[in-house]
């Protein structure tokens, strides 16, 4: 059985499952475990197919005689597609397991069949996007993915805010889809003249050549379209709206893998379909990546809705992925194949890592919301005592996303740093100076992300409980939810500790796209030392850091416990302050205040302080009201003017509509006359 067969089988399983789920909507209690077990199986199959495809490093292609006559669907599984299948399959396995427990909360409260069906279609759509080998089928799969995720975001549709968020998502997704359609149009229509229909296949696009101007047009249209789906700043606005309102398992999938399909699209278009480009394409991608990374994390710091915060972090991480991608394009354009391979591997590795830790974090956030019925982290606190499993697993996600060793986020960020620091090899003097500045911005992003996750974890899980609900009502979440999170956390650790094995496996991807593989390891114990360029240049050893840390910490602990010393529990000291209440803890808003002040020019901040005192006395106040509103500047800069213009045009055009039949007949008559005059 070839990998493509396995992948096809898993897609059929998902589509068949969706069909059966519709029929079984009467038996929801049975449907949920059955459907999600099926999804777990299918996802495992997807991951296996991808794993084998990357391992073998060969292409598998097939043509399915479905669709329109003369326009069959073309499928192809090459290492790049295989890598993304692994990303999709791995995370959706964990999320599907998690969903079994997660959806139990909805049973009996609202019909879940729609959620189950759309979930299965969504998974199938994402696999098909990656497998498609022609523009027509790609766009069909793309739309299947967009439409099913739209319904998933809309799931709790009784609230106006949710409907609005879903609409915004649909709007941005379709503006993006139009751009992608146009990009494919350029590539199919202008490569070899556009006489025959077979130009719509990716094979024809690969074989043909575009003039530089049209190639740039096609690339940037595609980049715009994919960037809209990926949430690259300034097209990110739908992301912090849509992710918090979707059910948490869906946000995990959307943020973890749906955004990655657009990274796949960019790589496919740049390296495969359009091969051969000037360096400034990569430069522009790099710039967008930097802006997204820095602004994404700064906006994330200002959020106190847990899922909104995570959504902004997706913007940041997409930025980091784009930094690697842009750098790889720059290196490719100057024919530094092995450097390009390093940057590409950094980008791909971060793609995989982000899928896992962001999936883990969204699942953790879902578990917290599930247990506390709160979304705002200012109303949480002290959950580490109430949700021991969830908190430990969420902490793994926090450490990974903050890019700290020995977890996986660190490895990919370190690889990106290495790629950035190799820029002095570039012959262009401007790039020589500017790329290191990009490295320092990446360092800023990493440090701010660490600050943000100290805040997220500290305010949510540490300290004392601040919420309105009774503490006794909060308990650990279902086993399957914990299992899903545990598997994701273990993968984060494995990817961080054994990067050499993973990179040895995925070597075939850069080999196909950049024409070089990277030196993963050197020396006798090759798997121990990760040396991406040469062992003189830089090295890192995940296993030594991990096991060394455990050994040193354990040795210290044991040495100190030779003599038994008592631990006395006492009320907290706090410099002798008495009567501390949970409300006096540092809040998320207070935590972010220094950074809000230092980077204030990035936000539109409205701060109000109101003293309420009996006699308007400035000192003897009864209470104090502090209002803070921090907004994304892009709303004011881009979207409000844009929507104003749209409404203005709509109003002008609206004058045509009079509501009287005579006027409409007149319009038809005039149109006819004009057409006759011009065409006759």
């Amino acid at each position: 059985m070839s990998p493509l067969d396995i992948a096809g089988f898993s897609v059929l399983l998902l589509l068949g499952g969706a069909l059966c789920a519709m029929l079984l909507s009467r038996f929801e209690r049975m449907l949920v475990p059955a459907a999600f077990s099926l999804a777990t199986l299918a996802s495992l199959a997807t991951a296996t197919a991808g794993f084998l495809a990357v391992l073998q490093g060969t292409n598998h292609a097939a043509t399915v005689a479905m669709g329109l006559p003369g326009l069959p669907f073309n499928l192809r599984l090459d290492p790049l597609a295989g890598f993304f299948l692994v990303v999709i399959g791995l995370l959706s396995t964990f999320v599907s397991l998690y969903s079994i427990g997660y959806l139990r909360a909805y049973l009996g409260k609202r019909p879940v069949t729609r959620l189950v069906v759309c979930y299965l279609l969504f998974l199938a759509g994402m696999s098909l996007v990656v497998l498609a080998d022609d523009a027509y089928f790609f766009l069909l799969a793309w739309e299947l993915m967009a439409a099913s995720s739209y319904f998933l975001v809309m799931y709790e549709d009784e609230q106006a805010a949710n409907r609005r968020a879903a609409f915004l998502y649909l709007l941005v997704a379709h503006v993006g889809a139009i751009a992608i359609l146009l990009a494919f149009g350029i590539m199919a229509g202008l490569t070899t003249g556009g006489a025959s229909f077979s130009n719509y296949t990716f094979d024809a696009m690969r074989a043909g050549a575009l003039s530089p101007g049209w190639a740039a047009g096609a690339f940037f249209l595609a980049f715009f379209g994919f960037a809209a789906k990926a949430g690259v700043i300034p097209l990110h606005v739908w992301l912090p709206e849509a992710h918090p309102v979707a059910p948490s398992n869906v946000s995990a999938l959307m943020s973890g893998i749906m955004l990655k399909t657009s990274i796949y699209g960019m790589m496919r278009v740049a390296f495969d379909l359009l091969h051969g480009f000037p360096w400034w394409w990569g430069g522009i991608v790099l710039c967008f990546g930097l802006v997204s990374a820095v602004m994404g994390v700064l906006y994330a710091l200002m959020q106190h809705d847990l899922k909104r915060l995570l959504a902004y972090h997706s913007v940041e991480n997409i930025g980091i992925i784009l930094i690697g991608l842009g750098l790889s394009m720059i290196f490719t354009s100057f024919n530094f194949q092995s450097l390009a391979a390093l940057a590409l591997v950094a980008s791909l590795y971060h793609t995989l890592n982000h899928a896992l830790f962001k999936g883990l974090l969204f699942m953790g956030a879902g578990a917290v919301i599930h247990a506390t019925h709160e979304k705002n982290m200012e109303e949480m606190g002290g959950l580490i005592h109430l949700l021991p499993w969830t908190s430990a697993l969420f902490l793994v996600g926090c450490i990974s996303i903050a890019g700290l060793p020995p977890f996986n986020g660190f490895v990919s960020e370190w690889l990106t740093f290495q790629a950035l620091l190799l820029s002095p090899a570039l012959p262009h003097p401007l790039l020589k100076l500017l790329v290191p500045l990009a490295a320092s911005l990446l360092a800023l992003t990493g440090a701010l992300a660490a600050a943000c996750f100290v805040k997220a974890f500290g305010v949510t899980f540490l300290g004392a409980w601040r919420g309105h609900r009774k503490k006794e009502q909060i308990g650990e979440v279902a086993f399957s939810m914990r299992l899903g999170m545990l598997l994701a956390a273990l993968s984060c650790l494995a990817l961080g500790v054994l990067p050499t094995l993973v990179m040895g496996w995925m070597d075939t991807v850069p080999l196909k796209l950049c024409g070089a593989r990277i030196a993963t390891s050197a020396g006798r114990f090759g798997w121990l030392w990760l040396t991406p360029y040469s062992h003189e240049r830089a090295s890192y050893s995940g296993p030594v850091v991990f096991f060394g840390l455990i050994a040193v910490v354990a040795a210290t602990y044991l040495l100190l416990h030779v003599r038994r010393t008592a631990i006395r529990r006492a009320p907290l000291w706090d410099c002798g302050f008495e009567r501390i209440t949970p409300r006096m803890q540092y809040t998320a808003t207070a935590f972010a205040m220094p950074i809000r002040r230092v980077f204030g020019f990035f936000f539109s901040i409205r701060e109000q302080l109101e003293l309420i005192s009996p006699q308007n006395h400035p000192v003897m106040a009864d209470s104090l009201h502090f209002r803070l509103r921090v907004r994304d500047r892009f709303w004011n800069w881009f979207y409000e003017p844009l929507s104003d213009i749209a409404f203005w045009i709509a109003r002008r055009v609206g004058r045509l509509q009079q509501g009287r039949i005579q006027i409409y007949l007149l319009y038809s008559f005039v149109t006819l006359i004009v057409l006759l005059a011009f065409l006759g």
Partner: protein, 314 residues
């Protein structure tokens, strides 16, 4: 007779925790002299640590496992870096574990957990300390990376042992880029180790504490470990500076006499470095926290200037 590289590795791992309190004691002595006070002597930090180890632990009621793990983690991580940074030899089998970027991230994990421990108890002071610490680190990190980058240009490597070998064995030349990045590195190291003008390690005034605010609730052996780790961190940053900027006399053979000589040379360099730090600390006052962006921004600019100097002059 030569010592096996693993033996040197072990020697370094023992050297760092043993020497670090003495180094802090030395800094205190010099500081007291400068300010016209009598000093408690070189051994006072050892006595402090011993006293804390003997005392019982008083743990706040709602302290979680994070609060209890952090001291061990901080101590362990910093101790581990002693096996990675070349103090008295470049012939370290474990030096390839982490290059200088990974090393900085190892310090970041200590900071991450210390900040979490600060928030664990749920006091306002702890949260305040964590928030400020993370703000400072987020500003220091880009400057740190820029300084690292400039240094790595000369040896085209970010691996510390490689940097030391290239710099010490190559012919001597004046590098303006290194001068700039050395100044930047000193500014950043003062921020990262919590010294004046960024943070005052001696203060317990509530509103000016940063690092002290995070560890306010610690006592007994937990506090001892954290204090010890702090002392080691100071020495590690000095060693990092020595390895990156003054690497002469680190590389050499493994025979015990030569090792001893190099060890003494290393201690001499540390002692001089301590005096320089005291001069800076005595000459400056602690800054307001919102002046720090300018301070760290100038460190960043200096490091960038160093990079430009490298591309233009060298």
């Amino acid at each position: 007779m030569t010592l096996h590289p693993m033996g040197i590795e072990l020697l370094q791992l023992i050297l760092l925790p043993l020497l670090a309190p003495a180094f802090v004691g030395w800094v205190k002595i010099v500081k007291c002299r400068m300010q016209g006070r009598t000093s408690p002597g070189l051994l006072q930090p050892y006595r402090d640590i011993r006293r804390l180890f003997i005392k019982d632990v008083v743990l706040a009621d709602n302290a979680s496992w994070i609060f209890r793990v952090t001291p061990y983690l901080a101590f362990g991580v910093i101790l581990m870096t002693a096996g990675i940074i070349p103090l008295i030899s470049v012939d370290l089998p474990l030096a390839a574990t982490a290059d200088i970027i990974a090393l900085v991230m190892l310090f970041a994990i200590v900071r991450f957990f210390t900040a979490l421990a600060g928030m664990d108890i749920g006091t306002a002071f702890g949260g305040m300390g964590s928030s400020r610490e993370m703000m400072i680190s987020s500003l220091a990190e880009p400057a740190m990376l820029m300084a690292i980058f400039t240094v790595s240009l000369a040896s085209s490597s970010t691996s510390l042992t490689q940097m030391v070998s290239v710099m010490a064995n190559g012919h001597f030349m004046i590098r303006p880029s290194l001068a700039f990045s050395l100044i930047a590195f000193i500014l950043i190291a003062l921020a990262e180790t919590g010294r004046i003008p960024v943070d005052n390690p001696a203060t317990h005034l509530e509103l000016t504490m940063i690092h002290e605010a995070m560890i306010l609730e610690y006592s007994g052996r937990y506090l001892a470990l954290i204090e010890w780790a702090g002392m080691m961190k100071l020495m590690v940053f000095f060693s990092l500076g020595i390895a990156a900027f003054l690497p002469w006399g680190i590389a050499g053979s493994g025979d015990p006499l030569s090792l001893l000589l190099r060890g003494l040379f290393f201690v001499a360099k540390l002692a001089v470095g301590g005096v320089v730090m005291v001069l800076i600390e005595t000459g400056l006052a602690k800054m307001r926290i919102f002046r720090l962006p300018e301070y760290l921004g100038s460190a960043f600019l200096l490091a960038t200037l160093g990079m430009i100097a490298f591309f233009i002059l060298e």
